[in-house]
């Protein structure tokens, strides 16, 4: 091999190896939230059963356990419809179009989205606007007269 070619290859290899030693770990660190994402169920209480009157839509909050260090944004709003004694529907407050925060209108029994005109029925079905699918529903259960929901039962954007 010619001396010149050898030096070129040496420089290229050395450079690439050094770059990789720096680049791979930093990318790994940046990807950490994805690589260490926890799965499985995550049940959290949202209030006593008696807080949810039968036949009514009630607002509730759920505390989101997080392992970071900030104190704010630990709570998320929800809508709970207790349609009968045993049946509870826990709606996510995120519009299924692009996640704007929907509002319940007691008068018309509809959910309105503030962004692009999404309107949902009392059952969470899309009635108008861009949303195509129904509002996300959390898996819910009652334990010791307390309503609990599984935070991981809906996708991250719901």
């Amino acid at each position: 091999m010619e001396r010149r070619t050898f030096l070129q290859i040496a420089i290229a290899t050395g450079g690439l190896v050094t770059a990789a030693i720096v680049a791979i770990p930093v990318i790994g660190t940046a990807l950490s939230p994805v690589l260490r994402r926890e799965s499985g169920e995550l049940w959290q209480p949202i209030g006593a059963l008696e807080n949810f009157p039968i036949g009514q839509m009630t607002r509730a909050n759920v505390t989101v356990p997080r392992d970071d260090w900030s104190q704010t944004l630990r709570e998320k709003g929800l809508y709970v419809l207790r349609s009968s004694n045993a049946e509870l529907i826990v709606f996510s407050r995120n519009c299924t179009d692009l996640s704007c925060p929907i509002v319940w209108d007691e008068g018309s029994n509809c959910f309105f989205c503030p962004c692009h005109g999404g309107i949902f029925s009392r059952q969470g079905d899309p009635m108008k606007g861009p949303p195509k699918r129904a509002l996300y529903r959390y898996a819910a259960r009652v334990r010791n007269d307390t309503v609990e929901i599984d935070l991981r039962s809906v996708p991250p954007m719901a």
Partner: protein, 470 residues
């Protein structure tokens, strides 16, 4: 003496070459509106300086971000001014960015030998849009948090990797401390560094290839070398060329100054963007994106819902691909309008479309919202007691969440005060109880008493006779 010092400095610091290579050169004469590039560079400078000084105080943590911005605005000496300049310079930057893009399309600025300049410009375009977005997320008010959610939701639609991308951007499955540090790093380190490098590269290429000259727009040019010859001839000529410094600099500087005057005026009159309530995922809110994104939001609302969800993901990608491919697709020898009709048409449609959608989004006639205030009665009209009760019930049953009366209220559904063909009593009654299939209105059967129904019908009947506002 002074001259000797000047020579010494320019020699020892190597300024001579820089001066010869940038300022002291002949270029083809250009029109005033070619100052948009310089204006963008200037605005970038304003943003860098004001941004740097805000970062002295800003705290990239959800617990302190909002309050630190309040502090900058309210307590810091001239903090409101610095923030105002940053905000309005950013808004104007987006406006000028579109101006620049459209102008280049109009004059064929992407054509040989300027493909490289164009491609780097495309990257800059997306980088600046990203900056204009991440910037207002840092405010961490309700607009920020929901803007973040909306953008995240768009990413979540990417096939296969959608959810992971969301978690990656957010730094977790829920927004929190790691979200804000990420956004902050992207806004003040990652993108600015790249932006700086690419801007320098972009300008370097502009120096090498020049800007599309008048002659190039007047005649067909078939090769890059032909273009170079033509350009050089113009630069050298007395009438068609000029010295970059001070002639061109003065003209571009004029445009930059005018735009800066606008930024300054807006800052002094309107001040920095007001802070909405702090980010929070529990209270009811009606967020809206920053005004330079209105048009996109309007577009999403207008598209039929079979397309809209995919459109939001595909549009930026398609736009990127089209812009990247443009110089390779359009290789015709013409650059002006003479033989190129499509650019003025496309750009015209885009500009009108953007303005129209922006206004539409500002009004958002598609948004229903609860409102406890019953519709007002026009002056001079006296309602019967039944109709008056009906008016109250009209709000109580949320009819006014969608139906305006004589132009007042939300405009999602029919305005009974301005209806074309009056509806009969029976028709209204049946409609309220059970709207026809496919109509986005809840049926009230079973949850409205017969008396309430009659009162509301009465009010609607009367509303149909309200005097028309022209």
């Amino acid at each position: 003496m002074a001259k000797r010092w000047r020579t010494w400095i320019s020699d020892r610091f190597g300024l001579r070459r820089v001066y010869e290579g940038t300022l002291n050169r002949r270029v083809a004469k250009s029109s005033w509106y070619y100052g948009d590039g310089a204006t963008l560079t200037f605005l970038l400078g304003v943003l860098v300086v004001t941004g740097m000084f805000m970062s002295l105080t800003y705290t990239p943590s959800p617990d302190g971000a909002y309050e630190s911005i309040r502090f900058i605005t309210e307590k810091q000496v001239l903090g409101w001014f610095v923030r105002g300049l940053h905000y309005w310079a950013a808004g104007m930057m987006v406006v000028m960015l579109f101006f620049h893009l459209f102008r280049q399309i109009l004059v064929g600025g992407y054509k040989f030998p300027r493909e490289g300049t164009w491609l780097i410009g495309v990257i800059l375009f997306f980088a600046i849009i990203l900056m204009s977005f991440t910037g207002y997320l840092l405010r961490w008010d309700e607009r920020s948090i929901y803007a973040l959610k909306v953008a995240q939701h768009m990413f979540s639609r990417l096939p296969w990797i959608g959810e992971s991308v969301v978690v990656f951007i957010q730094g977790g499955t829920e927004p929190g401390a790691t979200t804000l540090t990420r956004l902050y790093a992207v806004h003040v380190i990652f993108v600015p560094v790249l932006l700086g490098l690419f801007v320098i590269w972009h300008i370097y290429l502009v120096i090498i290839h020049g800007v599309t000259s008048q002659e190039e727009r007047n005649q067909p040019i078939y090769t890059a070398s032909q273009q170079r010859q033509l350009y050089r001839a113009q630069a050298r000529s007395r009438e068609k060329g000029e010295n970059f410094f001070p002639m061109t600099v003065f003209k571009s500087g004029l445009m930059a100054t005018i735009v800066f005057a606008i930024v300054l005026t807006l800052t002094l009159t309107l001040g920095p963007q007001r802070l909405y309530p702090e980010a929070d995922l529990t209270t009811i809110s009606r967020p809206i994106e920053e005004w330079w994104f209105y048009w996109y939001s309007g577009l999403i609302a207008l598209l039929p819902n079979t397309i809209a969800p995919w459109f939001v993901v595909i549009f930026p990608i398609v736009l990127f691909i089209i812009l990247i491919l443009l110089p390779f697709i359009d290789r015709s020898p013409w650059r002006g309008f003479k033989k190129r009709l499509w650019p003025p048409i496309v750009v015209g449609i885009c500009v009108i479309g953007i303005l129209y959608l922006t206004d539409l989004r500002r009004r958002s006639p598609w948004t229903g919202w609860p409102d406890s205030e019953p519709p007002p009665v026009p002056a001079g009209v006296v309602l019967s007691p039944e109709a008056e009760q009906g008016r109250q019930l009209f709000a109580q049953y949320g009819c006014n969440s969608c139906h305006p009366i004589s132009g007042h209220g939300r405009k999602v559904a029919v305005d009974f005060g301005q209806i074309e063909r009056r509806l009969s009593q029976d028709y209204i009654r049946d409609y309220i109880l059970q709207p026809p299939e496919g109509i986005a209105m809840p049926g009230y059967r079973g949850r409205m008493s017969a008396q309430d129904l009659e009162r509301i019908v009465e009010f609607v009947l009367v509303a149909q006779t309200f005097p028309r506002s022209q």
